[in-house]
């Protein structure tokens, strides 16, 4: 039985977690919030070690040290562009740990618990395994260890549905039978379900999936708390599960998509994809770096729209250099940041902050669109869907209704693009064929370096 003082300690830790999430919701208090969360976690670990007096204390401490030694250097040194996949890995191992804890509890009690507890065990094992394999697959996608395009195969939806049915049947089996082996099989099926869930999701949507899996892990931990009768795990896991679900929906809304569409959209061929291939043959105006440099150098006001391509090419420092060169020539430079620019919502702010771009130059949607109306040049670096006027003008388009940056209201538009390939939504961008648009093909970082060089010349 957990002593009263330990339960009070858990209560304090739970309060810390609520305050941490609250703090993280506002820029001014975010850092303090995170520290409060860490303090709560540290308190909880001390409390469990002191109250439970585990028999294998040394081995446990050794494992804690090992886990810290593995995680802290990576967390401290990781490139900010690679941060989303690191979060995915941390989420995955957390889900894996929760699944293992539930399996072990199943082994210890060997089915002696009530059906509600066994249901919680089954949930924890299944969803923890889904979160583990799904998160590791998102890591592979973001790290570009595999293709970032949706992976589809014939009968994919049926295989996925079948795997879900098998998992549900096994979960019922665990509840009725309470045997360990059924639990182990359930975990294996869960791993397969996790892979099938993430495979059809495209690279640009992966962040939303990470957020969803994050919420899954939270619920897994909550179920683990129910199994172990530990109120702290229950509260902390539920907090993350609930806030993570809401956050996932907010992220999807910011991209003008629904969560269902992100997860299962690739199963259906979007009607717009046909139009995109038909559009490839139409003329566009492309130019060399020198021409674009002249256009930028003689502008009064340039608004930079950084996107996914900039994050992939890790060009955040180069774009800052370009902005500096332009400012020395007396050009008014600002950045228009779409809420989902980069690899995750808010990621672009982190990247540009890392490159020491002054905060005042970053304009969010509401203030960026009036700026664009008075701009001479809108410089779009590796973004496509977030500036596609189809979101405003063509009700049939898959992205119709998504809030976009109105780069078409600038005097001239320059796109730095790798190819004519459409953005993730798979639809053609009319703006690319507009007479006032100029394209500069190539890797974002290379193109920006060339622009800086010719502006300095």
């Amino acid at each position: 039985m957990t002593p009263t003082w330990a339960q009070l300690g858990y209560l304090v830790a739970a309060i810390c977690f609520v305050l941490a999430l609250k703090g993280l919701s506002s820029p001014r208090t975010a850092r303090t919030g995170n520290l409060i969360g860490a303090a709560g976690a540290a308190l909880a670990v001390v409390v469990v070690l002191a109250a439970d007096r585990p028999r294998n204390l040394l081995a446990i401490l050794g494992a804690i040290v090992l886990g810290s030694v593995l995680a802290v250097p990576v967390a401290r040194r990781v490139q900010m562009t690679a941060m989303p996949q690191l979060v995915a890995v941390f989420n995955g191992v957390g889900g894996g740990a929760a699944a293992l804890v539930a399996l072990l509890e199943l082994a210890e009690t060997s089915g002696a618990g009530g059906w509600l507890e066994l249901l919680a065990v089954a949930f924890s094992v299944l969803v923890g395994a889904v979160s583990f394999s799904g998160s590791l697959l998102t890591f592979a996608k973001l790290q570009e260890l595999m293709t970032t395009r949706p992976v589809l195969f014939a009968g994919g939806p049926y295989v996925f549905g079948g795997a879900l049915l098998v998992a549900a049947a096994l979960a019922v089996g665990v509840v009725l039978d309470g045997g360990l082996w059924l639990g182990v099989v359930l975990a294996v099926v869960g791993l397969v379900v996790g892979l099938l869930l993430v495979l059809p999701v495209g690279g640009a949507d992966v962040p939303v999936v990470i957020s969803l899996l994050n919420a899954f892990t939270g619920l897994t931990v909550a179920a683990g708390g129910y199994v172990l009768g530990n109120s702290l795990l229950l509260v902390a896991g539920t907090l993350v599960g609930a806030s993570g679900t809401l956050l996932t929906r907010m992220m999807a809304t910011a991209m003008g998509r629904s969560v269902q569409n992100i997860l299962f959209g690739a199963f259906r061929t979007p009607a717009g994809a046909v139009a995109a291939t038909a559009g490839e043959a139409r003329p566009v105006r492309s130019a060399g770096a020198d021409d674009v440099a002249i256009l930028l150098g003689y502008a009064r006001k340039v608004v930079i729209v950084p996107g996914y391509g900039l994050a992939v090419a890790q060009a955040q420092h180069t774009i800052h250099e370009l902005a500096d060169v332009l400012e020395q020539r007396g050009v008014d430079v600002s950045y228009a940041i779409h809420p989902v620019a980069g690899r995750m919502p808010g990621h672009m702010n982190v990247l540009l902050a890392e490159a020491d771009v002054p905060y005042e130059q970053l304009k969010e949607m509401d203030s960026a669109n009036p700026e664009l109306r008075t701009a001479d040049v809108a410089l779009v670096v590796g973004a496509n869907d977030v500036v596609n006027p189809a979101a405003r003008t063509s009700p049939g388009s898959p992205i119709y209704g998504m809030p976009i940056l109105d780069v078409d209201s600038a005097q001239a538009v320059v796109f730095l693009k790798r190819s004519m390939r459409p953005g993730f939504a798979g639809i053609d961008n009319e703006l690319l064929h507009d007479p006032k648009t100029t394209l500069l093909f190539g890797d974002a970082k290379d193109s920006l370096t060339k622009l800086v060089a010719s502006l300095k010349a």
Binding site: A13, F17, L21, K22, L24, A30, R31, G33, N34, A41, A44, V48, L49, D52, R53, R55, A59, I60, A63, I64, L66, G67, S68, A71, A75, M80, M83, V87, F90, G94, A97, A98, L100, V101, A107, E108, G113, G114, E117, T217, G218, A222, Y226, G229, L232, L233, L234, A236, G237, T238, L239, V240, S243, L247, A254, P339, M344, G346, N349, E354
Partner: protein, 104 residues
């Protein structure tokens, strides 16, 4: 098997925590979506407490080994999660955002 009353008490805690979870993040700006997700990610690493509990009560060597693996994984989630969130938020600091924000 635990008494029914205790199960219901835990269920009550669960339902209330759902509402708190929704409430605390309902007004977050999109700029902070990523750090918030990362911070929430760190918080569920608290499964470490559960992993310590099962490791402490492990009867056989096999269960102990599996439990220790869970401890390692949970620690990586918990500690790594808070460290990477702090680094992310560090980027937002010292940017002249209001008084006292600059100077570094």
């Amino acid at each position: 098997m635990r008494p029914v009353g205790e199960g219901v008490a835990l269920l009550t805690v669960f339902v209330l925590a759902v509402f708190v979870g929704f409430e605390v993040v309902s007004k977050v700006s999109s700029t902070l979506h990523t750090p918030l997700m990362s911070g929430a990610n760190a918080i569920h690493g608290i499964i470490l407490v559960g992993a310590i509990l099962v490791a402490g009560n492990a009867e056989s060597t096999l269960t102990l080994v599996v439990a220790l693996v869970a401890v390692v994984l949970a620690t990586a989630n918990l500690v790594g999660g808070f460290v990477v969130t702090d680094r992310m938020l560090h980027m937002f600091r010292g940017r002249g955002r209001g008084p006292g924000g600059g100077g570094r």
